[in-house]
């Protein structure tokens, strides 16, 4: 029996159309829009001004406070303006606009292809380098990595968990990275282990990526303390709490963090970025993005500079098919529908999916038949039908008592509902109201 998490979960059609397509470098665009907030936490402060000349890898906005991240230029050229620009969720945010001139990298970045395994930095220096290099979680949430590498006093981490699950349908960027940059990822894992002072790391990969499992297992033999674990294919296995449960059978308490059970989870993409930052002195300014969809002529996995307009990326993949009805930033289960194709690629963007028109509209909402399928699909063992009806009726105190805030918005309930009910939409409404209520309570 393959390991997996025990409660709930669904199995959406995998549609990994681009699993066998190697990573291709996207040409540097003519201009980029780099938002100063691409991460969870405070937005960074711009440190360049209109007219400044920047090089690839240069800091253009510096992190503000502990939970924040530096933003680097992904191109060389001239800052044309600092202005508001819509991000992929449609909100307008401060961004640095750069007109590209050449491709002039900072001299400090080691561009040689050699793989460096020897770690010269101390644990503290590694954390500092991650902070300076603007490393954030590459799986989608974009949580600043140096925060997760800083173990508060009184807590102890004994195992590092590496997320190579990629449980979202369609997405293949982590898969490609594991196939093509396996050694760099493992070197990155070793760096993370040193930073956290642990001697054990476990990489979880779902069984639908047999090549990645085989490749990583073979490579891991030459690294000490790293093991690779095939997992049963089940969504949402890439969620931190579910992955920890699947791999080491520890249950993170409600409202707590993985560190409370002695684990820290990082994505394979993050491990790769950490490797580049620490060993190559290369800050985070490019990432692999899967561009896919059933109607796309040249779907693929692209190494893209942060700030590249989405439309450039889609053009390289064959252009927007005529029947496109929706464009998703991220996976189809948790990704966000974008409002505009001029928005830039950001650090947390793992994929872009072009959905044909007929698949992009929701079904008609029918009455709940109380089949309990949402209850059995919920990986947190909540009762989505109840949370929805409480939110519909503004009964937020009761929603709080029913632990609506434990919901991680994986969407398994809405996916599974035979009556096509918008369970998660209402649960989000309930969650945001409960969080607001709790905040007001704390103020009193």
């Amino acid at each position: 029996m393959l390991k997996t998490f025990p409660i709930g979960g669904v199995h959406p059609p995998e549609n990994k159309l681009t699993a066998d397509i190697p990573i291709e470098y996207l040409p540097v665009p003519e201009n980029v829009i780099i938002p100063v907030s691409q991460h969870i936490g405070s937005p960074a402060n711009p440190v360049v001004a209109k007219g400044d000349t920047v090089k690839v890898g240069q800091v253009i906005a510096s992190g503000k406070g502990f939970v924040s991240a530096n933003i680097h230029s992904s191109v060389s050229g001239k800052v044309s303006k600092i202005d508001l620009a819509p991000d992929s969720s449609g909100y307008r945010q401060t961004a640095v606009f750069i007109d590209v001139e050449g491709d002039d990298w900072l001299d400090t970045i080691d561009r040689s292809p050699d793989i460096v395994r020897d770690i010269k930095l101390s644990p503290e220096e590694i954390v500092k380098r991650c902070l300076e290099s603007g490393i954030v979680g590459m799986g989608g949430a974009a949580f600043p990595s140096h925060v997760k590498l800083t173990v508060p006093s009184g807590k102890k981490c004994d195992v590092l968990i590496i997320n190579g699950v990629e449980c979202e349908p369609y997405l293949t960027s982590d898969n490609r990275l594991m196939l093509e940059r396996g050694e760099q990822i493992l070197a990155g894992v070793t760096i993370l282990m040193k930073a956290l002072k642990v001697d054990k790391a476990m990489i979880g990969i779902e069984k639908n990526k047999p090549d990645a499992i085989a490749g990583m297992t073979r490579l891991a033999e030459s690294f000490s303390g790293i093991t690779v674990h095939p997992l049963k294919v089940k969504y949402p296995q890439g969620a931190e709490k579910q992955l920890i449960k699947a791999l080491i059978n520890r249950e993170v308490p409600s409202g707590r963090l993985p560190l409370d059970v002695g684990a820290v989870v990082h994505n394979v993409g993050t491990a790769h970025a950490v490797y580049e930052a620490v060993q190559k002195n290369k800050p985070l300014f490019e990432r692999v993005v899967t561009v896919t969809g059933k109607g796309l002529t040249k779907p693929g996995n692209f190494m893209v500079r942060i700030g590249t307009p989405l439309v450039k990326l889609i053009e390289t993949a064959g252009g927007i098919p005529g029947n496109t009805g929706k464009i998703i930033n991220g996976g189809p289960m948790m990704g966000k529908a974008v409002t505009n194709t001029d928005v830039p690629v950001v650090k947390g963007m793992s994929g872009v999916i072009l959905v044909p028109g007929e698949e992009s509209v929701r079904e008609r909402i029918r009455p709940c038949i109380r089949c309990a399928k949402c209850v059995s699909a919920c990986p947190m063992n909540l009762e989505p039908y109840l949370l929805m009806s409480l939110a519909e009726r503004n009964l937020f105190e009761r929603a709080e008592a029913e632990r609506v805030t434990d919901c991680m918005e994986c969407g398994s309930c809405s996916f599974t509902c035979p009556a096509g009910r918008p369970l998660l939409d209402y649960i989000r409404l309930g969650k945001s109201n409960v969080i607001k209520m709790a905040r007001q309570r704390n103020l009193k």
């Binding site: 029947n323 289960m333 929701r362 009455p367």
Partner: protein, 333 residues
């Protein structure tokens, strides 16, 4: 493309399950039982089922169209399932007019007055059936003897069900060992060669349907297994204490409507609990109440009453029996 993109919240994909497909799977699961009922009771089985299905669909349509003035949703399959299940709970020689009245009670009173699909507290087919049992006790308890297509419809030869033989016999002080000779053998009962409601007789057909429902993930095992398990346990205790006064658990499972009730009636989504733990309690309640009615009550059969009684507790169970949340009570190791 039109220049506008659709924007909605995640998830952006939906599973292939729908209300209609689930109901269709229930109908498919009921096909073996329908075939056996035609095999044993002939034309009557077809007439009763057709009447019940047509009148259930018609009443739902008329009420939605003219009373509620809401969109018509009879194609969701739920009234179809109610119609079939109501028919399966009736003797195959019941007059058409009584079926129409029963269908009216099922759909109009038990379902639509509460707001239609998803809102009814009691199983509509069973409300209809119990209404008919109380209003037309003679017609509802004259059971055709299974003679295949020779059974006829209104002119069918009738006889007592195995449960009635045992109940009557025990009341008259006869020991089980004498009564056994007057009821079908367990293998006959397993194949359905006995008097009874037309859809309940053939255990084998119902079990095939159960397997289908499990394979297609329409229902989980919790309710059927707890109903049958608790009934078997309770009757086993009685039987071991006094085998001359109590029938065996095997008899209790095969006779009457236990399997039809446990697999198809108690598992009705709307009127059963939402959480596995509550499903087990609900199922055990049905099993135990069935035995109490059969052994100590006035009626020879109690499955319908037991399910309706437990239906009444479902809202309470949904409010108070909660699943163990992930990360709620933590034991690590």
């Amino acid at each position: 493309m039109s220049n506008l993109l659709n924007v909605s919240q995640s998830p952006h994909v939906h599973g292939k399950e729908s209300t209609q497909r689930l109901m269709l799977n229930v109908v498919i699961a009921l096909i073996p039982a329908f075939i056996t009922s035609v095999f044993y009771f002939g034309a009557g089985a077809v007439i009763v089922t057709a009447t019940s299905v047509v009148s259930c669909l018609l009443f739902e349509y008329l009420i939605q169209r003219f009373v509620l003035r809401k969109p018509i949703s009879i194609n969701d399959g739920s009234a179809l399932v109610t119609g079939i299940l109501l028919a399966f709970n009736l003797p195959s020689n019941i007059p058409v007019l009584i079926i129409v009245i029963g269908s009216f009670v099922s759909i109009a009173v038990a379902k639509m007055t509460f707001g239609g699909i998803g809102n009814n507290p009691f199983n509509p087919a069973l409300v209809g059936r119990v209404f008919m049992l109380i209003s037309f006790p003679v017609q509802m308890t004259s059971w055709p003897v299974p003679k295949g297509f020779g059974t006829g419809y209104l002119d069918a030869v009738t006889g007592a069900t195995p449960l009635a033989v045992i109940k009557e016999g025990l009341k008259n002080g006869e020991p089980i060992s004498d009564l056994i000779a007057r009821i079908p053998t367990p293998s006959q009962m397993f194949l359905g060669d006995m008097g009874g409601s037309m859809g309940e007789v053939a255990a084998i057909a119902l079990l095939i349907g159960f397997a289908w429902l499990l394979i297609r993930k329409v229902i989980t095992w919790h309710i059927p297994v707890s109903v049958i398990g608790s009934l078997a346990l309770f009757t086993a205790i009685l039987w071991l204490v006094n085998p001359e006064k109590n029938a065996s658990p095997m008899f209790h499972i095969l006779a009457g409507g236990v399997l039809l009730g446990a697999i198809f009636m108690a598992t009705d989504y709307v009127t059963s609990p939402m959480v596995p733990k509550a499903m087990l309690i609900y199922g055990c309640g049905i099993g135990i109440i069935t035995v109490i009615i059969r052994v100590y009550g006035a009626y020879p059969e109690g499955v319908s009453f037991a399910i309706l009684i437990m239906n009444a507790f479902v809202p309470l169970m949904n409010s108070y029996i909660k699943p163990k949340r992930f990360g709620e009570e933590v034991k690590n190791g």
